[in-house]
Structure formats: structure tokens, C-alpha cells
Symmetry: C2
Amino acid sequence: MSPARTARALAREAITREILDSARARLSTDGAAALSLRAVARDVEMVSSAVYRYFPSRDALLTALLIESYDELGTAAEVADAGVADRSDVTARWLATFRAVRAWCVAHPGEFGLLYGTPVPGYAAPRDTVDPATRVVRVLIRIVGDGYAAGARPQVIPSAGATSGVASPPGTIAPALDFVAGHGLMEGAEPSDPELPETVRRAVMAWTELFGVISFELFGHQVGSIADPEAWLDEVALRLAADLGIRA
Amino acid sequence: MSPARTARALAREAITREILDSARARLSTDGAAALSLRAVARDVEMVSSAVYRYFPSRDALLTALLIESYDELGTAAEVADAGVADRSDVTARWLATFRAVRAWCVAHPGEFGLLYGTPVPGYAAPRDTVDPATRVVRVLIRIVGDGYAAGARPQVIPSAGATSGVASPPGTIAPALDFVAGHGLMEGAEPSDPELPETVRRAVMAWTELFGVISFELFGHQVGSIADPEAWLDEVALRLAADLGIRA
DNA sequence: ACCCTGGCAAGAGCGGTGCTCGCGTTTGTG
DNA sequence: CACAAACGCGAGCACCGCTCTTGCCAGGGT
């Protein structure tokens, strides 16, 4: 049954948890790049070398933090969307998701910096992190898809080459389309479906704007310009929904 | 009337330049947070303590890099906008500005990380940096303002409280409006002008999206989803212009 | 009930960091 | 010409991530 039956395994689990919590606390104060394994060791009252029994390197600890944080954020987005009873009210689902994502990021600025800030030099995130990292945008794609499936349409659909041949070649976001199809998002829609690219492009743009807003807020680019970040995000969410055409 | 007549002052200027260049080169490889004064000292073949004759601290060096980079980026944006001969072709000015900003950021990923990535822990940017930092968004505000002044209008103007009282209170971006008025952007428009808030709000949103796209590209959040970042930015720029209503 | 294997903490050591201080030298100026 | 300011150097302090070796002690096989 439970693989953690012995006292030894139980203690190991508890200490691992303690190390992760201390490391996440350190993220907020020192930043991801300066995450100090020694500082974490002091926090949990162990000698620095002892921590290496639990995480073979600082990079391994970073990876664990990365996956755990991406999962928390993704869960927050999914829970927020699922919490709207009226599934046809895409605007409410949209706003709830935006608010939940911002709320998590504001509550965990250190983790946000790790996820969406400057990459830690010398550290490359392993493949295990890309799936948790896409959970938020998947929620957005689903909401936009539901809205479009219900008949909503963007106000403006830029036609290819509308302005002197500057439109993107069709292959620009092809990998994203394959990803969406491969994950079974937007069931019934095939990669060749002309609706799919528009849905994905709009959702990816909104995803970018969402994290741009949060990034500017948390990284201090709004000081002196945005007085109320929370209200500003609401407004951005609603304007995006209107531009997307999914606003009720 | 060069103030650097003596050989000593000339040498000081040259060495200062050399230090700054080495530091900026290090930004791309090691990241801003790990910028090592000793490492740049080795690059310029000086003893670490000698560098302190030119920059009193690592933070001072960081500030110099910040201001220099913000100014370069701002100049790139201004030059790109000014380079469009037909001033009434706001779409061309818009696209040129977007492309120039991305081009600079892609060419200087280290500096971009310093400007828009995770803040360096323990370092707070002084006031001198906020004016250079706003040069890009000022260009965007001007273009949107020109477009609206010429009669263009957003397709959708969300009316306050259109969706169950979620609209932002009017004071949300009040500081930004004061800033625009104080800098004499959009001449003729007063803070009470109902056109001004819409212009600024749209420009700030576009500014956020622009840096969100670049941030995702440079920080590795597009791997596996966006095949052609350059084409993607073009598309985003044009879609934003269309949503803004300034597209020709 | 024994003993031995393996998880664990401790500590020394290596090379790196920001920064300070005292030294001798070079350079511009009164 | 002599004095003072600016300059480069090297040692040194306290910290960092990480490696390696040493010794302790609990668990499980016989």
C-alpha cells in the first residue's frame, strides 16, 4: 500500500516538504537566481551538505519548485473556471480565471518570478515542466473555444494580407495547433478546422496579455501609472473578452 | 569645448565605456542577478578593486546599465516611428515600432532581462530610471492618439458596468493620465478629455501585450507553440491595431 | 539475536562573490 | 617644480555553491 510506511520514509517525506517550503519562502526574498541551498539548510536547521541527501543539486530543487508552482497555478485557473456554475457564461468564466491567476501570482511573487521571470542562468528546465506550464493557457483555449462554439465571434478578423502582405504565414503557430489537437482540447475540432487557428491565436494573445499585466505589476513597471492593479486586471480581462467577441 | 581634454579624463571615459560594454556582454551570458563585478574586472584586465574607481558599487553599475539600455530601446522605438514618412499611416508606424522594439530586445536579450525580467534581489532602481523607461509607451500613446485624432475608433468600447459592475473605478489609471498630461503627450488633450483615458488605456494594454510577447519569446515560453516569433509579433501587432481601431 | 548494509549529519576544503583598506605610482595643476 | 588628486594593485573579510570524507545509527536479512 502506502510506500511510506516506515518511520524513515515518513521522516524523509516530512523533511522534503520542509525543504520545499523553505525554498519557496526564500524565492520571494532572494529571487530564484540567488536561491541559496545553504540558506535553505539554515532555515530547516540542517547542515548544508545534508540537504543534498534530499535533492542531488540546486537544479533539482529548482525543478521541483518549478513543477510544484506550475501545478498550483494551473489548478487555481482550472478550479476558478470550473467554479462558474453557468458554463455558457463565458465572460464570467473568463474573468474568474483571470482573477484567480493574478491572485495566485500576487500571493506567490517569488514563485511567479521563477516561472515567468528571467530564466535562471545555467539552468534549463527539463521536459517534465512543459506540461504543467501549459495548464493555464489550456483553460483559456477551452473558454474561447466554448464561446466561439456558442456562436460568438471576434469583432475583427484580420484577413491575410489586409495590410500590404504583413500577415503571418500559416505555419506560425502550427506547433500550438498540433499541441491543442494532441491534447484533445476543443473536442470535435480538427487541426484543419478553420475555427481552431482563430481560437488558439486569440487565446494565446490573451494569455500573453494576462501575464504581461501581472509581470508589469509584480516587477514594478506600473508604479506611478496604475493606481489599482486589481481593478486594472479586471478591465483588461473584460476588454480582451470584448475584443475576442466572447463577452456576453 | 570637450570637457575631456586631458589624457587622464580621456582614459577614464574609454575605460568606463569598456567596463559598461563588458558588463552588458556578461548580462547575456550570466544574467542580471549574477552580474559579477569581479568578472567584468577580469574581462577588462583589471583588478576587481580598480573597478570601484569607476563605479562605487555593483548597484551603481546596474543603474548605469539600466538607464543606458532603456535609452537605447526608447530611441529605437522613436526612430522607428519617426522613420515612417506618411505620418497619417498609423498602422505602418505601429508595426514599425513593434518590430523595432522586438528587434532591439532580441539583439540584446541580456539587457532585456535586466529591464523587464525578475528584479535583481536587493536592488531598487532609482528614480532616474523611470523617465527613460517610459519612452516606448509614450511612442505608442502618441500613435494611438494620432489615430484617434484622425477619426479612428475602437470597435468596442466597454461601457462601465456592462457586465454586472465589474468595470474599473475611474481612478484606476489616473496616475498614467496625469503622467501623459504632465509630459505634454497628446497636445491639446486635457486630463478631463474623455478621449484621453481611452487612448492611454488602449496604448498601455498594447504596450503590455508587446512586452508579454517578447518576454515569452526570450524567456522560452513559446518553445513548442510558436514556430516563427517574428511573424507572430507582426500578427499580434496587426490584430492589436485592428482591435484598437487604428488600422487603416 | 546478531551483524552489516545503507541512509544520514557533520565538517573541511575549493573556488567564487561584493567590498574595504593601505600601498606605491602616475598625472594634472597651482 | 612641488603638491595633491586620481589611479592600479594586492591582501583581506565574510559570504556563497558545491564536493568529498568521515563517522553515527537504525533496519532488515540470516
